[in-house]
């Protein structure tokens, strides 16, 4: 059954690539899931830049599911021996593809343009595999933001919380005032985004690294983890009744129109804020999630370079060079809400939250607290990540005790690592 689906995909793919025949001398085929207005416009910058170098762009957008559909299509393409020139992927996917031996080598263009100097080391850990650059990073997102409706906080006389105790106190006060404290959508990845924040906020960066990134059984079963689930239980009391299944942008809308006071969400929420004619950093405050000031969770979109035929390689190199150019990095990230993946882009054109992010990431990198986000494919392999999702979501949506959740988490992670 699984494979009839794949074969259908293959057929569709074969058809679409057959009709998109080439006019340019050289051409890159790029698989991505940036189909929304702003993102698509930002990709145009890249297309035009390549066109000026006489490299054609064959677009292969696969929308939906935060890249889930794209990843399925990509597997079908690679399994059929016909990979695209480059494909958008998250850090762990990039690593998994590199381990499959499917990716090529961008090292020559990386050395020429000095990528190693400007890309943060934590991002390089994904982009460089076995000494070779296998992908070009496009952006750095920060999932551990706490967004606050400034008007509500002013009216209630609250200040942005910096620890989880303060968060709980503020949330209780909001609840008394009849305002939903936390705007949240009950989807596994959103639950996991909050979970990441709580693990990092309560346990600190070293605990996060041990428990999440290294999946250390002792850390996963520790008292700290029990406290994490205790806090998750508190949070599940701060969401409205109707949260289950809600999309993140609808949760953000609750924050914007004053139904809810706070939201724990990545910086892509800025797009929604700007669209509502509000100013990030003024109308909607951005602070690091409680207890995570000084640390920086990240997720990065890479363009993974596949091992293509020799005659396609020059175009692939041009693509990688264009992606890493300051102009594209700035133009794209201004739209996307993230910050550039290279640290030498001037912060002047970014909004207050973007500028704060650019300062914070330097500090976090110096303190060894720039960490991959588990919820967003930079902490664990897909199977362990989903196993963690299962437990976090199960716990958040039921009355499971923290102790049981910790045991479940150990079992789930262990069986996913087999």
């Amino acid at each position: 059954m699984a494979f009839t689906k794949t074969s259908k995909l293959l057929a569709t793919v074969a058809f679409t690539s057959a009709i998109g025949s080439a006019a340019m001398a050289q051409e890159v085929e790029v698989l991505h899931w940036w189909t929304a207005g702003g993102e698509a416009a930002a990709l145009n910058v890249l297309k035009e830049d390549l066109a000026s170098k006489n490299v054609g762009w064959q677009d292969m957008p696969v929308a939906g599911g935060g890249g889930e559909a794209a990843s399925t299509t990509l597997k079908a393409r690679v399994a059929a021996g016909n990979p695209p020139t480059a494909a958008q992927m998250l850090g762990m996917q990039l690593r998994e593809w590199a381990n499959e031996g499917a990716l090529g080598d961008l090292s020559s263009v990386a050395e020429e343009n000095n990528w190693a100097e400007v890309v943060p080391a934590a991002v390089q850990e994904f982009a460089v595999n076995d000494g070779k650059w296998v992908g070009a990073p496009v952006n750095i997102h920060r999932p551990n933001w706490l967004w606050i409706n400034a008007e509500i906080f002013d009216a209630q006389g609250l200040t942005p919380p910096t620890t989880w105790e303060e968060f709980n106190a503020a949330a209780d006060k909001l609840q008394e005032a009849g305002i939903t404290p936390l705007a949240h959508g009950g989807q596994p990845w959103q639950d996991a985004t909050v979970f990441d924040d709580v693990v990092l906020g309560i346990g600190g960066p070293d605990f996060y690294r041990k428990a999440i990134i290294e999946a250390d059984m002792d850390a996963l079963g520790s008292d700290t983890m029990v406290q994490v689930f205790d806090q998750m239980r508190k949070l599940s009391g701060y969401v409205d009744e109707n949260f289950s299944g809600r999309d993140w942008n609808l949760a953000t809308a609750m924050l914007l129109n004053g139904e809810a006071g706070m939201q724990l969400m990545g910086d892509w929420a800025k797009g929604e804020i700007i669209r509502a004619d509000m100013v990030p950093g003024e109308d909607i405050l951005c602070v690091a999630a409680p207890g995570t000031e000084g640390s920086y969770l990240f997720n990065t979109d890479f363009f993974g370079a596949f091992d293509v035929s020799e005659e396609s390689k020059p175009a692939q190199m041009e693509l990688a060079a264009s992606i890493m150019s300051k102009e594209f990095q700035e133009a794209f990230n201004l739209v996307k809400g993230s910050i550039p993946a290279r640290t030498d882009v001037a912060p002047d054109n970014f909004d207050a939250c973007g500028q704060k992010a650019m300062e914070d990431i330097v500090e976090a990198a110096d303190n060894n607290a720039l960490l991959g986000s588990m919820a967003h494919g930079h902490g664990q392999t897909s199977s362990v990540q989903r196993a963690m999702f299962d437990v976090v979501t199960e716990h958040f949506n039921s009355d499971m005790s923290s102790q049981d959740a910790v045991e479940e988490l150990q079992i789930a992670v262990e069986s996913a690592m087999l």
């Binding site: 059954m1 699984a2 499959e100 009744e241 897909s382 039921s398």
Partner: protein
């Protein structure tokens, strides 16, 4: 003399020739991939197919997974209620429609229409309808019945029943049509004879009509059972397996393990279990059908 010869051989060959592409495609894309999936379920495939033999390891892992337990339990609840309610409702509607009422054709069409929708449409429509914030609950509360509550879709213990509701809404019309055809096939003379003998309407249906609907029941059961086992799109559109993992079913499990969790071996093993379950329903049915024909 040669003319009729070629004519006959063409007549012999043409059907086979016309059918052969279909047969070849079936052989590759259905049976070929079934064998491929079976093979993969015994390998350590993760992100991409791999050919390292691991025996029954994937099956052992599968049956240790809590999510799979949930999925199987949900299938039992969903399948049982779905088949049961569809048959009961379909039969009732068919009997009522069979009372020689006015505008029967019109009413029949109304009941059959949901079947024309795809499960995705049904799922999305019911998702909105059942959503306490915008759907039924909000509307009734807006009318003034403030204490009215219907939030099953957000309740992890009740969510699976909303899947049943939506699925029954979609298919009971089809079951009705099956039964109606069966009812129309019953010999009127027999019913008249029973009436002359003084049988009550209830006894008439219980002793004569319903027993004669056995073949219709059987086809309805087989169609519903395999739809229940492979139900995927409805669940994805309606609840997407949530809240939490409360409405996970084997088909959603199979997709997520094969394609998003990079545990293709386990995913293939779950696909095999589903295949065997469907086979357990379909093969006896086909066998009895084909035997009767001979």
């Amino acid at each position: 003399m040669a003319q009729p010869m070629t004519g006959r051989s063409l007549r012999d060959w043409l059907p086979k020739l016309v059918l052969s592409p279909t047969v070849a495609m079936m052989a590759i894309f259905v049976y070929g991939f079934i064998f491929f999936t079976t093979y993969l379920s015994f390998t350590d495939s993760r992100m991409l197919p791999s050919y390292e033999w691991v025996g029954f390891d994937n099956y052992a892992t599968l049956f240790k997974l809590r999510t799979w337990d949930i999925a199987v339990n949900n299938l039992l609840i969903f399948g049982g209620l779905y088949i049961g309610i569809c048959c009961l409702l379909g039969l009732t509607l068919a009997i009522l429609l069979d009372q020689k009422i006015r505008a029967e054709g019109f009413i029949r069409t109304i009941y059959l229409y949901p079947m024309a929708l795809s499960f995705i449409v049904t799922g999305v429509a019911w998702k909105w309808f059942l959503d306490p914030g915008i759907g039924l609950e909000a509307v009734v509360q807006g009318w003034g019945w403030e204490s009215f509550e219907f939030d099953w879709i957000k309740d992890r213990d009740m969510a699976i029943y909303t899947v049943v509701i939506a699925a029954v809404w979609q298919t009971s019309g089809f079951v009705m049509a099956t039964f109606l055809a069966g009812l129309r096939g019953i010999d009127g003379e027999m019913l008249k004879a029973a009436e002359v003998d003084g049988a009550s309407t209830f006894a008439l249906y219980r002793r004569i009509v319903i027993p004669q609907l056995r073949p219709a029941f059987l086809s309805a059961f087989v169609v519903l059972a395999h739809m229940a086992i492979k139900s995927y799109d409805l669940v994805v559109a309606l609840t997407n397996g949530g809240p939490g993992t409360a409405t996970e079913v084997p088909a959603t499990f199979m997709y997520s393990y094969t394609f998003t969790r990079n545990q293709m071996g386990v995913g293939a093993a779950s696909a095999e279990i589903m295949l065997l379950t469907i086979a357990a329903v379909i093969i006896p049915y086909l066998w009895s059908e084909l035997r009767e024909k001979k």
